[in-house]
Amino acid sequence: MPRRSRLHVPRAPARPGEAPDFSYVRLSAAGAVARPDVGSPAADIENLSVELIRVLDDQHRAVGAWNPHLDVDTLQVGLRHMLLTRVFDDRMVRTQRQGKISFYMKSTGEEAVAVAAGLALRPNDMLFPSYRQQGLQFVRGARLVDLMCQLLSNTHDMCKGRQLPVMYHSVPGRLFSISGNLATQFPQAVGWAMAAAIKGEDDLAASWIGEGSSAEADFHHALLFASVYGAPVILNVVNNQWAISTFQGYAGGEQRSFAARGPAYGMPGLRVDGNDFLAVYAATAWAAERARKGAGATLIELVTYRAAAHSTSDDPTRYRPKEDYERWPLGDPVERLKQHLIAQGEWSEQRHAALSTELEQQVAAAWTEAASYGTLTEGPRLDRDLMFEDVFKELPGHLAEQREQLRRERG
């Protein structure tokens, strides 16, 4: 090469061996951001895409205009779902390490993103998650055993053995089938919302993708269609700073917030403290009210941190400082909600420990039941004829033949 490269290459703030550095995260004080009317024109509230909507302050108080003033019951339910998410995640990673399931993905550190949003929406709203919002499953009443059977690809697997672990779905829970292909659900959620609008129904759609996934074409398709048709949809970008080994700067986060893409497409963009249960709840509720009023879509960026490995196939110590999460300026979502409740006198370390134990036992019991329906390696197995079903609604001739052939050739 004749001369020195002038290409800009984004740099991760810290790599293994370097000190964690979160100076790049632009913070606002809790309560500092104004809460505009849900009907405000997108162009008038662009500041929301730059500032950071926060409710819980350092003294664990809920402050400012975005405080959703939730009752204690809701807060406790939220805490329970978040803690369950964490307990479940921990336990499932252990079962993976024991070879009982092939793969797992934790959401540690991001529990509020899913749980608070789930609680802020109505049961009829349709959810299009990525693989890292297991909290939504709990909010929408999934049975632990059912989730585990999916992870085990066993005889009770809702996916009939066809999907990798964590690719759940639920028709009664209105949780769309999770795809292994990143971002594809984002514009599908918009289509769902367009249909709701066409039918004159009040339900809205919400979807979640990672900040890394926002680089996919479907991010653009989603924002564009949502904007053009004023679709009642909430588009969430979970900015947990990492996409496997790749820092969020490679998805465009170095120059500008992800929330800022919203106003560019004519919809509000909210930048929200994703580890603040109350802020996530409030932002989601605001966007939902806006959508239901007919004012269209909202883009929400949830600023959080992927505390664990990308998946059980990943080793983050290869690409980021070990102690990164300890220095993460937005803290831990479970801890923050817990302290908020304690500060109100509605919770205690003891109750928390007891809840933890209770949930661990629940999870353990569910696991015993789930494993009894078979694991990948032991116990009863799904009927392999199922492999040929559901490709089409009815089994076509060539698949019927192939099913027979398998019987003949494999006994």
Partner: protein
């Protein structure tokens, strides 16, 4: 009735019968489509049932999937089959697999209409025949009518089908049957029995081939525009060919094909798409598997050359009668 009117009639009828049906695509609404296939539908059924969309094939198919999951039956138009590739991921990874991956919990009955094939001086980006790259994908049906009658009946069947359907429209047949000779005056559909299209509802079942002309000497398997070219070629050669219009590429009506080749012992495949790894290869593979001991000569393919569709060489590229005749002779002589 020509094929444009037949397709229009099918959508008009389904929009009227089923409030879940919506039509969407580039220029399909106010304007009625660049080929006028959706002409008048928005005026009649309203702006919320017949939607103009952004120029975003990926977005159109993704939105259609979401709509279908929410109970609608979208009929999405991709303006030319050559422009379907930006939607390929949503079709292959999502539309085709949703029912399977969710074990039947979710499904998306989307119909994707798109004009395909050459012969209209469209050059390499308005002439492609991409059926093979959809045929290989499990979970979508793929059909292509060769007459207005089949176009209407198949489109109604596609819209009613609970599985996704790629509906390929051989645009050279929109206004009349075409025998492959660009120098002859154009013939309208009114001169062809396939142009007789009943009013009202009827379906042509997906998954069934049609024997267009029974014969004993050789089987010609084809679809789309090439059905008409093959007919003309066989006629000009005076050979008693059995001509089969596949119509449904997925699922394929293997029985009809196999029965014919078992009878004739000779087979020629004709399609417009490029030859290498085209759908003709699957037809040959399947037929030789089923009819090997009946075959008296290798199965031949007449297809587009393995090049993009070149603007200036349209008629050297298009697999016209001369090439079908030459191949027929070889198949009849057993090389």
């Amino acid at each position: 009735m020509n094929m444009i009117q037949a397709l229009n009639a099918a959508m008009d009828l389904m929009l009227g019968r089923d409030p879940a049906v919506v039509v969407l695509g580039q220029d399909v609404g106010y304007f009625g489509g660049v080929f006028r296939v959706t002409d008048g539908l928005q005026r009649k059924h309203g702006q919320h049932r017949v939607l103009d969309t952004p120029i975003s094939e990926g977005g159109i198919v993704a939105a259609a999937i979401g709509m279908a999951v929410n109970g609608l039956r979208p009929v999405a138009e991709i303006q030319f089959a050559d422009y379907i590739y930006p939607a390929y991921d949503q079709i292959v990874s999502e539309l085709a697999r949703l029912r399977y991956r969710s074990a039947g919990a979710f499904a998306a009955p989307v119909t994707i209409r798109t004009p395909c094939g050459g012969g209209i001086r469209g050059g390499q980006t308005h002439s492609q025949s991409p059926e093979a790259i959809f045929a290989h994908v499990c979970g979508i049906k793929v059909v292509m009518p060769a007459t207005p009658y089949d176009a209407k009946g198949l489109l109604i069947a596609a819209i009613e089908d609970d599985d996704p359907v790629i509906f390929l429209e051989p645009k050279r047949l929109y206004n009349g049957p075409f025998d492959g000779d660009p120098n002859k005056p154009a013939v309208p559909w009114s001169t062809h029995p396939g142009g007789e299209v009943p009013d009202g509802y009827y379906t042509v079942p997906i998954g069934r081939a049609e024997i267009v002309r029974p014969g004993a000497a050789v089987t010609i398997v084809s679809y789309g525009t090439m059905v008409h070219v093959a007919e003309a070629a066989a006629r000009s050669l005076g050979v008693d060919a059995e001509i089969i219009d596949v119509r449904s590429i997925v699922p394929l009506d293997v029985e009809t094909l196999a029965a014919s080749v078992a009878k004739t012992g000779r087979c020629l495949i004709a399609h417009e798409a490029t030859r290498f790894a085209g759908f003709g290869a699957e037809l040959i593979a399947t037929i030789q598997e089923r009819c090997f001991f009946n075959l008296e000569a290798p199965i031949e393919r007449v297809a587009g050359w393995d090049t993009p569709y070149p603007h200036a060489f349209e008629w050297e590229y298009f697999p016209g009668q001369a090439r079908v005749v030459a191949a027929l002779k070889r198949v009849l002589e057993g090389r």
